[in-house]
Amino acid sequence: MTLSLTFFLGLAKVWVNIERVDLSYRIQTLQNDYRENQELRTKLTIEKNNLLSPYRLKELGEGMGMSSPSESQTRKLRN
């Protein structure tokens, strides 16, 4: 009786250990994905900031014949 209980407990311990290692691999993969995505987001934010840079927009606007309005051309609207 004691022998069979010890045997089953031993098996259970081995199973738990295997699960633990599997889980740790999965966690590692997810952590890597998370870091990669975060890094990608940072790079995309920089790209967005580059694209929205006022200097770039000014150049693009001027290329399309646009210019900033002069003082007399602006009209302030009250909320």
Binding site: T45, K48, K76
Partner: protein, 653 residues
């Protein structure tokens, strides 16, 4: 015969016993050997061997935290760290240096000879190239060259290019701050180093059986500046065009929010792009506003007037004789640009007379004048976190001669940094209370009480004089902005020549306030060595007017005083930790536009225009007012009713 057989049998039995004893002995020796070995491994060498095993299971890794980011006051990223790849090699593991260098050179688009020289070094670690693009790193990885490895590093990116370049500074290849804020805030921005333990499996893969990857603990802190990148852009743009137009060698403009001392824009021209600092030089990346000294010239006169008024030496209507443009003081002669006779105190400032200023200075005396200049901070650097700030040159008053006092009265024989000058003007604008400049947002949020330099009444009188200098017939008339009263002072300082005395080069400057009374913004513009025009009123005053008009016509306008930036907004909403949050602008819900024209009657003009523009319809406005009285096509009609044109008729109420 039988006797012999019995004896043989006994001998045989004896041998068998001996054999058994020998086997038993061998067995006991083997058993004892095993036990001894077990004792040796488990008890005597146990700890050491367990340590060796742990070294195989676990690996130690040194990680460096990410450098903190720098944001402007609205959360726009000014400096950011990104992970980039670097390539290194262990030349001892490289099998064929020739083919490896050819392959690497093809992937990195560089000279194979240089790479071969690296691979021939007698070292176990050499950098091949650092901080390359992800695409190039992928090409190197695909080649799979033995002995060549790729490692992650952090590199610094300044997404807005040269914007605020000299103030931000830059970092070296190992992410150490070398100039500007990157240098002075290095300790705060740079990430800490930490050794972490990872568990590895038999094939060397890392496993996460240990607690969470602790990078967050070692990352550097973010910094939020008081700079507003929209205003910064405006300041840079108008400064650059003025320096180019007047052939100046250098230009500086500073926009300061008066009530808080927050610096909203800080432009220096020629521009410096910290992304590519190697192609620049120290004369460009030096932050001249903080480091270089200049003679303030006439821009110092308002402080003389304020000191004279405060000490009761003069009143705003006191008369001074300006000697018709030439005045001999001892062996020297002081001259004015134009010939003036009798002028009241406020006209002395308005026309910027050197002779009358010298006379006021002499009446005031060196001791009191020095004390005011000292209290205004002309002998101490500002408390901005910038490396190598100048302290100015203000000699002690007991060594001043009569001529020294006369010249210091109109701003020569004293040297200040542009920042010190801006801070002194901020004192005048803030009802005579000494106010420090701020560049780091959280520094400005600390409650501070500053000492009083001038009374409220005196500073208000000087602000009136400065308004007259622009709005009446003074030297600063080109600084006018239609629709709002502004005040300011021009400065045209002769530059000291390296051979002694004054040369033929000038510094043109203008410092002004918007509005003239109870100011909201202070703008300083300095242009170095403009030619042929060199007057502050001609060269620098228009820069003030352009930047000021642009700020007023932008959405920012005059509202900071009534809507303080530090109050009203929850601090959490402005945390720069998550920059994605800043990209979403909060807009009010627009009126929903369907297939039919909605009823816009009674709606505010702004709301109606925003809703229409949001759907690509550009309305034509008729009449004056802020409310929609009527519109064509009318409510419920089709959008194309009026040949595609949409007319909004306005009324006042």
């Amino acid at each position: 015969m039988l006797q012999m057989t019995k004896t043989d049998l006994n001998n045989k039995k004896d041998r068998t016993r001996i054999k058994i004893i020998i086997i038993l002995g061998l067995f006991i020796i083997a058993w004892m050997g095993l036990w001894t070995r077990a004792l040796f491994i488990q008890v005597i060498k146990g700890e050491e061997l367990a340590g060796m095993a742990d070294r195989q299971y676990y690996s130690k890794e040194k990680i460096t935290g990410k450098r903190g980011e720098i944001f402007d006051r609205n959360g726009v990223v000014l400096a950011q760290s990104v992970r980039s790849k670097s390539v290194y090699a262990n030349p001892f593991l490289v099998e064929n240096a020739n083919s490896a260098s050819m392959e690497l050179a093809a992937a990195l688009e560089t000279d194979p000879g240089r790479i071969k020289a690296f691979l021939n070094q007698k070292s176990s670690f050499v950098w091949i190239t650092r901080k390359i693009s992800d695409r190039a790193a992928l090409k190197v990885a695909e080649k799979n060259i033995p002995g060549v490895f790729i490692i992650d590093e952090h590199s610094r990116v300044y997404p807005r290019g040269h914007m605020l370049g000299q103030v931000l500074g830059f970092v070296g290849v190992d992410n150490q701050g070398l100039e500007g804020l990157e240098k002075s805030l290095d300790e705060r921005l740079s990430g800490a180093e930490m050794v972490i333990v990872m568990q590895r499996d038999a094939s060397g893969h890392k496993m996460s059986l240990l607690p969470q990857y602790p990078t967050r603990k070692v990352d550097g802190q973010d910094v939020q500046l008081t700079i507003d990148s929209e205003i910064q852009f405006t300041a840079e743009r108008y400064l650059a065009s003025a320096v180019e137009k007047h052939g100046g060698s250098f230009g500086l403009s500073l926009v300061v929010h008066v009530p808080t001392g927050d610096i909203l824009a800080w432009a220096s021209y020629p521009f410096f792009n910290p992304n590519n600092f190697q192609s620049s030089n120290s004369s460009i990346w030096r932050n001249r506003a903080a480091v270089d000294l200049m003679e303030p010239g006439s821009t110092l006169k308002p402080f003389l007037m304020a000191a004279a008024l405060e000490e009761g030496i003069a009143k705003t209507d006191s008369l001074y004789f300006c000697e018709n443009g030439r005045w001999r003081l001892g062996r020297n002669e002081i001259r004015d640009v134009k010939e003036y006779g009798w002028l009241t105190l406020n006209r002395v400032l308005r026309y910027s007379s050197n002779i009358c200023s010298a006379k006021i200075g002499l009446d005031l005396g060196p001791g009191p004048y020095f004390q005011y200049l000292d209290k205004l901070g002309f002998s101490v650097e500002t408390n901005l976190p910038l490396p190598g700030q100048g302290r100015g040159i203000l000699r002690p008053s007991h060594v001043w001669s009569r001529m020294d006092l006369a010249t210091i009265a109109f701003g020569q024989g004293i040297a200040t940094t542009p920042l010190q000058l801006a801070r002194a003007y901020l004192t005048l604008a803030n009802e005579g209370l000494f106010t420090e400049l701020n560049l780091i947002k959280e520094d400005g949020e600390r409650l501070q009480t500053w000492p009083r330099v001038f009374s409220n009444e005196v500073s208000s009188q000087v602000l009136s004089m400065l308004r007259d200098s622009v709005e009446m017939d003074g030297t600063g008339t080109r600084a006018r902005i239609s629709g709002v009263e502004v005040g300011g002072k021009t400065g045209t300082a002769q530059k000291a020549s390296p051979r002694g005395g004054y040369g033929d080069k000038y510094v043109a400057s203008f410092i002004g306030f918007i509005p003239a009374h109870d100011p909201e913004f202070m703008i300083l513009a300095i242009i170095d060595e403009p030619s042929p025009q060199h007057y502050g009123g001609v060269v620098a005053a228009p820069v003030f007017a352009d930047i000021g008009a642009s700020i007023l016509s932008s959405g920012r306008g005059i509202k900071f005083r009534t809507l303080p930036v530090t109050e009203g907004q929850p601090v959490q909403a402005n945390k720069p930790a998550d920059n994605a949050r800043f990209s979403v602008s909060h807009r009010r819900d627009r009126i929903h536009l369907g297939n039919e024209v909605p009823d816009l009657r009674g709606v505010s003009l702004r709301e109606a225009v925003e809703s229409l523009l949001g759907s690509g319809i550009v309305p034509v406005l008729e009449g004056k007012g802020v409310l929609v009285r009527d519109h064509v096509p009318g409510p419920g009609e089709s959008w194309n009713q009026n040949n595609g044109e949409f007319i909004l008729r306005l009324c006042d109420s």
